[in-house]
């Protein structure tokens, strides 16, 4: 393997770890809240812990190139396990811990993992079950011993025991470990991440040390990240973003990774940590904003007035102040006052007071939501990325932030737009291959290293910013040849807080229609304020007043779409409100909460039929999967509504 690292010694994550232990030895590297207290580890302590795990893995007979699966929520011990696996020449493969057993079994089987790290009993149980079918799993190592005391421990180990074994075996394996760590090259595999993908089986994206380290370095320089950043690691460990933020950039820069106490305490932990560098998908920002708005509805009149007044002012001048543009003295004073009275306390409540660089990506974020955070003085930006790119394709530079673009190409990234509008990129972060899947690799990445994103978009003239319209394969044509961009419309719909999810149909059809999922929190609150009684999600979703409200939203979207000539055919003529939330457990969405269009189309074919045959209502039965894996059926009669469209006359429903 050729060593062509920019800096010879920093060709792998373990090498970065060694450097950090030398350079930042006494600085905090990890924090985790346990028993109500933030426990912390310095870089030196962390490197010792990691080394002990690595030695322990050697005592268990781990080989170079073995795959080590990691299943659990963000915890220091699991991050350490990944780096320890790298130290012994193995490849860490973090998995989504809430994946259904079938999906998990597929990934464990596909990557051929001999070792699996589990967070707790729940994960161990899943793996033991999978072991009946997947026979190459040899050792299971767990972090949380609770409830596992009585299990057969012949091939099951508590991580502390593994570490103790490792420490005791220092003499025996010390040299071996050093040798294996030293031989790690820049083009060796760093990590393998399975993309859930909107269609088909998950694919194992192989990323090299070069991919990860170059991407981390470039992006860290882009945003001037330092060793003093604080991040909260709360997004799935299997997601490339978490690997880049919590390992790549953290190790490159030497900053501290904080792990929440539990999945339910993230918001509280966020407040306590006050990260300086923060990533969240649009959904999180949306939920937080909805929470604030609901609280303000219940607040006293004075408070509400203050909030409204100052927020109005913030919307007016906040983004400009953030971008360093000229703002009048009086407006500045008012903003300063607002910061004391409203913005400051609000940011503190949201846990965002210290955020210096904030990013969102994955889905389009509603302009109102985006502006809300920016107007508070939070430097929230957008980026566009993929697992195959080691995250970064484009990012928004400070001072050039807008809600409708995804920024300029990151350092070292080239972008090309194909004739059909599909975006291609080439960068140091471009993945090596899909594991054991040369066909997919070949169809995604060409010989020159250009990768197809699968998204359609264009580079805005003048600014050089990339704008994304939709998934390339989803940008289709309607029956009369007009452009059909469902995602574009869906996003516009989803910007309404009352609409959680929308699925728009119309490819090869005369006109467009939509499924709507209401947001239970927002609509529930609205119902409460308007004295609308409901006993269930289903009942609320079917309420005529809710329909009326949603119809208003749909028609507003229609008016907005009509302004863009190219897309005006995408106006929604008919819609219905679904009786259940689209759910990853039912396969209707990916784990990252993207709608699986094909599956939805198949599953609800009867409903789509009704949208196009002019029915006023339709009876349907739907299979649902409960959290514990059991299946059940729900049935409902759904109303179908016509929405007003602009400019082309209503298509009569036969």
């Amino acid at each position: 393997m050729g060593k062509q690292a920019a800096s010879e010694e920093l060709a792998s994550i373990p090498a970065l770890l060694a450097r950090n232990a030398r350079k930042f030895g006494a600085k905090t590297a990890y924090r985790e809240k346990e028993f109500g207290i933030w426990q912390s580890w310095t870089w030196l302590e962390a490197s010792e812990e990691i080394r002990a795990i690595a030695l322990g893995l050697l005592t268990l007979g781990i080989e170079r190139g073995d795959h080590v699966a990691i299943i659990g929520r963000n915890r220091p011990a699991l991050y350490w396990s990944m780096v320890a696996a790298q130290m012994v020449g193995a490849v860490p493969v973090p998995l989504y811990q809430d994946a259904v057993a079938e999906e998990m079994a597929y990934v464990l089987d596909h990557c051929g993992a001999r070792f699996v790290f589990c967070e707790d009993q729940e994960q161990v149980d899943k793996v033991i079950e999978i072991q009946e079918k997947v026979h190459h799993i040899e050792h299971v190592i767990y972090v949380e011993p609770r409830g596992l005391r009585k299990y057969d421990h012949s091939h099951l180990h508590w991580i502390r025991d593994v570490q103790a074994e490792g420490r005791a075996a220092q003499q025996r394996f010390g040299a071996e470990l050093a040798a294996r760590t030293d031989e790690l090259g820049y083009d060796d595999t760093c990590v393998m991440l399975y993309t859930s993908g909107t269609t088909g089986r998950p694919k194992g994206v192989v990323l090299s040390n070069r991919n990860i380290i170059e991407s981390s370095k470039n992006s860290a320089e882009f945003d001037k990240l330092t060793a003093d950043e604080e991040v909260l690691a709360y997004l799935p460990m299997a997601w490339v973003g978490d690997f880049i933020f919590s390992i790549g950039q953290a190790y490159w820069c030497g900053f501290c990774v904080n792990c929440p106490e539990s999945a339910d305490t993230v918001m509280v932990d966020l407040r306590e940590i006050g990260p300086t560098y923060y990533f969240a998908p649009p959904r999180v920002f949306e939920t937080q904003l909805t929470g604030v708005m609901i609280r303000m509805e219940d607040a006293s009149r004075v408070k509400k007035w203050l909030f409204d007044t100052f927020m109005q002012h913030a919307r007016k001048v906040g983004p400009q102040i953030l971008d360093g543009k000229p703002v009048g003295l009086w407006d500045r004073f008012k903003y300063w006052l607002g910061d004391i009275v409203i913005y400051g306390p609000l940011k503190n409540m949201l846990g965002l007071s210290r955020v210096r660089v904030g990013y969102t990506a994955g889905e389009a974020i509603g302009p109102e939501i985006f502006d809300f955070y920016r107007s508070l003085g939070i430097n929230l930006k957008q980026l566009y990325g993929q697992t195959e790119a080691s995250v970064f394709i484009t990012l928004q530079p400070d001072g050039e932030v807008r809600s409708d673009t995804v920024g300029v190409p990151g350092p070292g990234v080239e972008i090309r737009i194909a004739e059909n509008g599909e975006v291609f990129y080439r960068s140091p972060g471009v993945f090596v291959e899909y594991y054991r899947n040369p066909e997919s690799t070949a169809s995604t990445k060409d010989a020159e290293g250009w990768v197809a994103t699968g998204d359609a978009g264009f580079i805005e003239e003048g600014t050089g910013h990339l704008r994304i319209i939709d998934r390339a394969k989803d940008v289709g044509k309607m029956a009369d040849g007009r452009m059909f961009a469902p995602k574009y419309v869906e996003n516009k719909l989803k910007f309404f807080p009352n609409i959680l999810e929308a699925v728009v149909f119309g490819s090869g059809r005369e006109f467009c229609t939509a499924f709507i999922n209401i947001d239970l929190t927002a609509v529930g609150n609205w119902a409460e304020r308007n004295n609308i009684a409901y006993a269930s999600y289903q009942e609320l979703a079917a309420h005529p007043k809710v329909y009326e409200m949603i119809q208003g939203h749909v028609e507003e979207v229609n008016r907005s779409i009509a302004q863009d000539e190219m897309l005006s055919g995408c106006q929604i003529h008919r819609f219905l409100i679904l009786h259940k939330e689209l759910d990853a457990d039912d396969g209707e969405m990916t784990r990252t909460r993207k709608v699986r269009r094909r599956i939805v189309e198949e599953k609800y074919a009867d409903l789509i039929g009704a949208l196009y045959d002019g029915s006023k209502e339709i009876y349907t039965e739907t299979e649902v999967t409960y959290e514990d894996g059991r299946k059940g059926k729900i049935s409902a009669t759904l109303e179908i509504r016509d929405a007003a469209v602009v400019g082309e006359g209503k298509v009569a429903a036969q």
Partner: protein
């Protein structure tokens, strides 16, 4: 019926159960003319999960209230912790290591989860009032130590996220968990659970069962529980006492009790 010798017995899942922790002998409890419990004897052994079951009105809750001293039986004796007595006060029961939860959740609703569980440690706290007012010296150390214990319980029951929430605002299932936490805070030698799964959905029941098993397994706490749901009981309990109309009609391993004709009749409502 099974052998209940002094040496203990082996449970259906193969655990060795030790000697007698509490023995109830010929307990009779009357309210005015109504006989709630009639001449009932059974024992609870160290380390076991003991279930008391029976149809509605069988006297299960009365039995639990006798054990923890809310009710004083007119006849009979209770031996616990080496002492035999005919009646106990709730305060004394708590002092001797008996903790309990209630059928309808009796929490301090205005206080937070943390304070509720902390209150459960009342009997473990010794520093006097004066030190406490100063919050200094030994009292502070003690408070920290108690807080640590409470945090372990919070971790154990996975209720970190509601640490600072007033329990009155919590959903029922979580309240039940907090109540269990409060009972555990006293580090009881005998834990009494009054219908721990009442009013829960399937998922919550599974969670609660797991917690009960974990408490028994990891903390080694002896548990006596009342439960209406037969299925749950048979999975959880090591031994089962069956009451009907205030009388004991069966006592033994779940498998034995399940096949007992008297029990089947009682549950099917065969007239006496």
């Amino acid at each position: 019926m099974m052998d209940q010798g002094v040496e203990g017995y082996v449970t259906e899942d193969g655990r060795q159960i030790g000697g007698v922790l509490m023995a109830l002998q010929n307990i009779t409890l009357r309210f005015g003319g109504v006989v709630a419990l009639r001449d009932i004897s059974f024992d609870i052994r160290e380390g076991e999960i003991r279930a008391i079951i029976g149809p509605n009105g069988a006297g299960k809750t009365s039995m639990l209230n006798v054990i923890n001293g809310f009710y004083h039986p007119q006849e009979g004796q209770i031996t616990f912790g080496g002492k035999t007595r005919s009646r106990m006060r709730p305060y004394e029961a708590a002092k001797q290591g008996i903790s309990r939860t209630f059928q309808n959740v009796a929490l301090f609703t205005g206080m937070t989860t943390l304070d509720n569980i902390m209150a459960g440690r009342t009997l473990k706290m010794h520093r006097n009032f004066f030190w406490q007012m100063l919050r200094h010296g030994p009292a502070l150390e003690e408070e920290i130590e108690h807080r640590r214990k409470v945090e372990e319980i919070i971790d154990f029951l996975e209720i970190e996220h509601i640490r600072r929430t007033p329990v009155g605002q919590l959903p029922y299932g979580l309240q039940k968990r907090v109540e269990l936490g409060r009972a555990l805070a006293a580090e009881p030698s005998l834990l009494l659970l009054d219908e721990p799964m009442a009013g829960m959905n399937v998922e919550e029941k599974e969670d609660m069962s797991r917690f009960i098993l974990d408490v028994n397994d990891q903390l080694g706490t002896t548990i006596a529980l009342i439960e209406h749901d037969m299925g749950v009981v048979m999975d959880l309990a090591d031994r089962v006492v069956v009451l009907d109309y205030g009388k004991k009609i069966a006592d033994g391993l779940p498998s034995e009790v399940q096949n007992d004709q008297a029990v089947i009749d009682a549950y099917l409502g065969v007239p006496h």
